[in-house]
């Protein structure tokens, strides 16, 4: 029991104490305390990760048959490891970045709490537990969005809150019905629907499936309820934006995996109008997100639109309901998580060092911050899908999966849209590199100053960039795990 409960409760307690206690006042003491807490949390998490057996734990019942239950399986472990890695590196980056912001203690407090809630999401063994932590995730990440408390930030935070809850309540509608029409709410590979009920109520269940996909898709930034993402992600402090784009949207992805593969089951949904609708929405988002990113002038907002687009690559892969595409989708969860956090942290470094937020102001930035922009470039190549980065692997598998799927339209339409989007991705990411390293004749080379950020910010960048490449080169371990998962759910 301690294996499941402690990794959830410990970060939450650390976070709450940071929020509630008046001390420490001095910044250096605060950072020391946070580092100690961080080390403790990560140490315990890693230790217990090696021990946990994956056996289900039913903690208690909220009411009849509505149990809070945890069970860590392979897919949960993959998400969990990604979360831990990115969280740790973003926290280290924050130590330096948050020097220029206010209310730092509150920031760290909520950051810890969010880790605890995300852990609960990964460990969740049934849809009720998952839903409970999903709602908590929205509530506890909202203060990160509106951190700087400007009018813009507060409005963005509220927009995030209301969109997310609208989505959550769509999912709750489905959950109410699934409680009665399913054998159980525990996540079971292949689905939990009662066959009689499924046949009897098929139209209703299909509608509910779509509503749940739309509902959980809100968090993943899927059209038509994506509008909160480009408003909320840029307005947060850069490390929080990185975490939101790289990790918190993946909570929506995990939700969709659970609902489609572990609750409804592929056999119920494959070939139905629900699948077609989902594929259309995902591809639409891929294209639209890239287009809007291409036209966007503010760097962080451009990256936010990029998230909208890239996460729908993952959703497209999931919607194909085909093993190779599934592997590609999960691979992209990891690739995008590592890459997008790198990109946002680079943007944060640029803001921290130079105060510049618009793309057109970034001429010569590569000369000022070479290491940072090199990391940016390598990460961008990953997002575009150039070997040997992880982004290439995931795109390859997504395209192969689409071609394999045998769907008359989407087998070819999918890869075409992915290709167009890759070109657009190059178009919206690489100009910063090009103008950064080759600012042209008109640039005032003498007035330029070296502005490389300090080690606390550069080292996480380097690690994340390295990981995004390493996971593209050493693919076998992860692919083997994904194959094992795919075997159970297809």
């Amino acid at each position: 029991m301690i294996d499941y409960v402690l990794p959830i409760v410990l970060p939450v307690i650390c976070g709450v104490m940071l929020l509630v206690l008046g001390v420490p006042q001095k910044r250096s003491n605060l950072l020391l305390l946070v580092s100690v807490a961080m080390t403790a949390v990560l140490g315990i998490d890693v230790l217990l990760l090696t021990k946990v057996s994956g056996v289900r734990l039913n903690l208690f019942e909220l009411t009849h048959n509505v149990a809070i239950s945890f069970a860590l399986d392979r897919i949960g472990t993959i998400f969990y490891v990604l979360i831990l890695v990115v969280w740790c590196l973003v926290m280290i980056f924050s130590f330096e970045y948050m020097k220029h912001e206010q209310n730092e203690k509150r920031y760290y407090g909520f950051f810890f709490i969010v880790l605890g809630v995300l852990t609960g999401l990964c460990f969740a063994g049934n849809l009720i537990t998952f839903y409970a932590f999903f709602e908590l995730l929205t509530l506890t990440s909202m203060p990160l969005v509106l951190h700087n408390q400007s009018h813009e930030a507060v409005m963005a935070g509220l927009k995030y809150l209301f969109y997310s809850f609208a989505g959550a309540y769509l999912a709750l509608l489905g959950l109410y019905f699934l409680f009665q029409y399913g054998n159980t709410l525990d996540f079971t590979a292949g689905g939990v629907l009662n066959e009689q009920m499924a046949a009897q109520h098929q139209p209703l269940l299909l509608v509910l499936a779509l509503l749940m996909i739309l509902g959980f898709g809100v968090k993943a930034g899927m059209f038509p309820m994506h509008a909160w993402l480009p408003t909320a992600h840029p307005v947060a402090p850069a490390p929080a934006s990185a975490f939101l784009s790289a990790i918190i949207v993946k909570a929506g992805v995990l939700a969709l995996i659970r609902v489609v593969y572990y609750i409804f089951g592929v056999s119920f949904l494959r070939g139905t109008w629900v699948q077609t609708t989902w594929m259309i929405l995902a591809l639409l988002t891929v294209f639209m997100g890239s287009m809007l990113a291409y036209r966007e002038k503010i760097l962080k907002k451009r990256l936010a639109y990029s998230t909208v687009s890239q996460v729908s690559y993952i959703l497209f892969g999931l919607s194909l309901m085909e093993p190779v595409a599934f592997s590609g989708a999960i691979y992209h969860v990891i690739a995008h998580g590592l890459i997008k956090s790198t990109l946002f942290l680079c943007a944060g470094a640029i803001i921290y060092q130079t105060g510049k937020i618009r793309v057109e102001e970034l001429n010569g930035i590569g000369k000022q911050m070479p290491v940072t922009i090199w990391c940016y470039t390598i990460a961008s190549l990953g997002l575009i899908g150039i070997p040997p980065t992880s982004g290439f692997i995931s795109k390859w598998y997504l395209a192969s999966g689409a071609l394999n799927s045998g769907n008359p339209v989407f087998a070819w339409l999918g890869p075409v849209i992915l290709l167009i989007s890759a070109l657009l991705t190059a178009g919206y990411l690489l100009p910063i590199t090009m103008h950064g390293f080759f600012p042209g004749e008109a640039f005032d080379y003498k007035a330029m100053k070296k502005a490389e950020p300090c080690k606390k910010m550069v080292i996480p960048l380097l690690i994340l960039t390295a990981l995004s490449v390493i996971s593209g080169v050493f693919t076998s371990p992860l692919l083997a795990q994904l194959q094992m998962i795919a075997d159970t759910i297809f």
Binding site: L62, H151, G157, Q180
Partner: protein, 492 residues
């Protein structure tokens, strides 16, 4: 326990209230102590009655024919009486502090305490006549409370309240007359007491009368289109709006509808009829209407009043599902919403008491200066939205479960209404929380200059207890839900 105790617990608060203004004790704190002791004593008696239920009823008076004033404690009485008696001592304690800033508190406490007895009279009523009698009486003793501040606003509000309530009770009276003629008895019995032989083929008339009585009693339960008295009654002092207009009066309306549906007409007669669809549709509409008005409302207490309108229709929706599970859902929301809403209203009252601010846009940044109040307000907001782990999730779950289990397609739509309402609740409650904790504006700067702080223990203690209850019910609701299921299956 002996049956006459059923009458004692009704009489004792009424006498206490009447005696209070003429009490020979001079010092304020001793007078209030006397009052609180008697209220607590009465609540203890009620709970003793709950735990040692008298088997038969207590007849106070006989009128002509079989018409009697009878008190009896059955399952539903246990729920309502238990709820009201648990909340009243805490509300009285809260109002001691609150009334330091208001005038004529003797009158206030007189009517406040008499209302306690009258509400118990509704809860413990053994037949429709008794319930109707105390129902009308409740209107009469609460009008002076609404009118208390004696401003023009208050007088207009109390007049509207009076007219609406008396009008509604008149329609309830029509229902009662038909029950006398077409029912085997006026007593409450689970499953109904209609004499089907006597009705013959006049079913539609009976259904029409049911809908009329539903609308009549529904006035007190603030169903659309008879709900406008409730937001206007927000002009009363907060202990009145909180306890009476979020717990006692409005729940009495919902209670009456439950009695009418399950214990007079009986659900077997009503289920599947056009009357069920009409009443369910009215409830569903009110759910969404109440929440929509709340989003637009900027006056803090009126916003919570609209929220009450919506939440009461959750209870009524549960009643209109007309299955035992529907009753469980309705009763669980009756209990949980009472706690959540009294908590919200008391927080609002504390804010108004400490800062004299009435409107939502004046509350920027107050969370820093009054962290306990805003913290507890956040808990009640999350509970009203239905966040898992808090009480509201459980009652919504029970309602949705009942709706889906019934197989009624309109009820499925009702679940959708519940969720739309949940989203709107998130909007109108969390914007207050965010304003309090996170907004930095000119209003915040002005507020920071003032010396605002959390109120003293007399207001904080009830709030803390309510917040703890919300969390407790959210996590450990199974015993209560089991009890309600027993009530719905007729065990008591």
């Amino acid at each position: 326990m002996p049956e006459y105790m059923l009458f004692i617990v009704i009489l004792l608060p009424m006498l206490t209230g009447v005696v209070f203004p003429i009490l020979p004790i001079k010092k304020r704190s001793y007078r209030l102590l006397f009052l609180e002791i008697l209220v607590v004593l009465n609540s203890v008696f009620v709970w003793m009655l709950l735990l040692n239920r008298p088997e038969s009823g207590f007849t106070l008076a006989h009128f002509t024919g079989d018409l009697t004033i009878t008190f009896k404690m059955d399952g539903m009485s246990m729920v309502f009486a238990g709820l009201v008696s648990a909340l009243w001592p805490l509300a009285t304690l809260y109002s001691f502090e609150y009334m330091t800033k208001e005038k004529r508190e003797n009158m206030f406490f007189m009517f406040y305490t008499v209302s306690y007895g009258v509400t118990l009279g509704i809860a413990l009523a053994g037949n429709l006549l008794t319930m109707y009698f105390f129902y009308e009486l409740l209107t009469l003793v609460t009008v002076p409370l609404v009118m208390h501040t004696m401003t023009r606003e208050a007088i207009l509000a109390s007049r509207k309240y009076l007219y609406y309530s008396i009008g509604g009770a008149a329609f309830g009276f029509i229902g009662m007359i038909f029950m006398i003629i077409y029912g085997t008895t006026l007593d409450f019995a689970l499953g109904g007491v209609l004499d089907l032989v006597k009705i013959g083929d006049r079913t539609n008339i009976l259904l029409l009368v049911y809908v009329m009585a539903f609308l009549g009693f529904g006035v007190k339960a603030a169903i659309c289109p008879f709900s406008s008295w409730l937001p206007q009654a927000g002009v009363a002092p907060t202990p009145v709006t909180a306890l009476l207009h979020a717990v006692a009066v409005v729940k009495a309306g919902a209670f009456a509808i439950l009695r009418l549906t399950y214990y007079c007409y009986g659900t077997d007669f009503l289920r599947g009829s056009w009357a069920q669809y009409v009443t369910m549709a009215i409830a569903m509409f009110t759910i969404v209407y109440g929440c929509s008005r709340a989003v637009k409302e900027t006056h803090l207490k009126r916003r919570l009043a609209y929220s009450t309108i919506s939440n009461l229709s959750y209870i009524i929706f549960g009643a209109t599902i007309m299955t035992p599970l529907g009753m469980v859902g309705a009763l669980s929301h009756m209990v949980f919403h009472a706690v959540m809403k009294i908590c919200s209203f008391f927080c609002a009252g504390a804010i108004m008491h400490q800062t004299e601010k009435h409107y939502v846009h004046e509350l920027d940044g107050l969370g820093k200066q009054m962290p306990m109040i805003f913290g507890i307000f956040t808990v009640s907001s999350l509970a009203l939205m239905g966040v898992p782990g808090l009480a509201g999730f459980i009652s919504k779950w029970n309602l949705a479960y009942a709706a889906i289990e019934s197989g009624n397609p309109l009820a499925f739509g009702g679940v959708g209404c519940l969720l739309i309402s949940a989203l709107l609740t998130a909007i109108y409650m969390l914007t207050i929380v965010v304003r309090g904790f996170f907004v930095k504006s000119k209003v915040t700067e002005a507020n920071e200059k003032q010396d605002y702080h959390d109120p003293n223990w007399m207001m904080l203690l009830p709030l803390g207890i309510f917040a703890a209850a919300i969390v407790l019910f959210g996590l450990f609701s199974t015993p209560l839900v089991n009890f309600l299921t027993d009530v719905a299956s007729g065990l008591y």
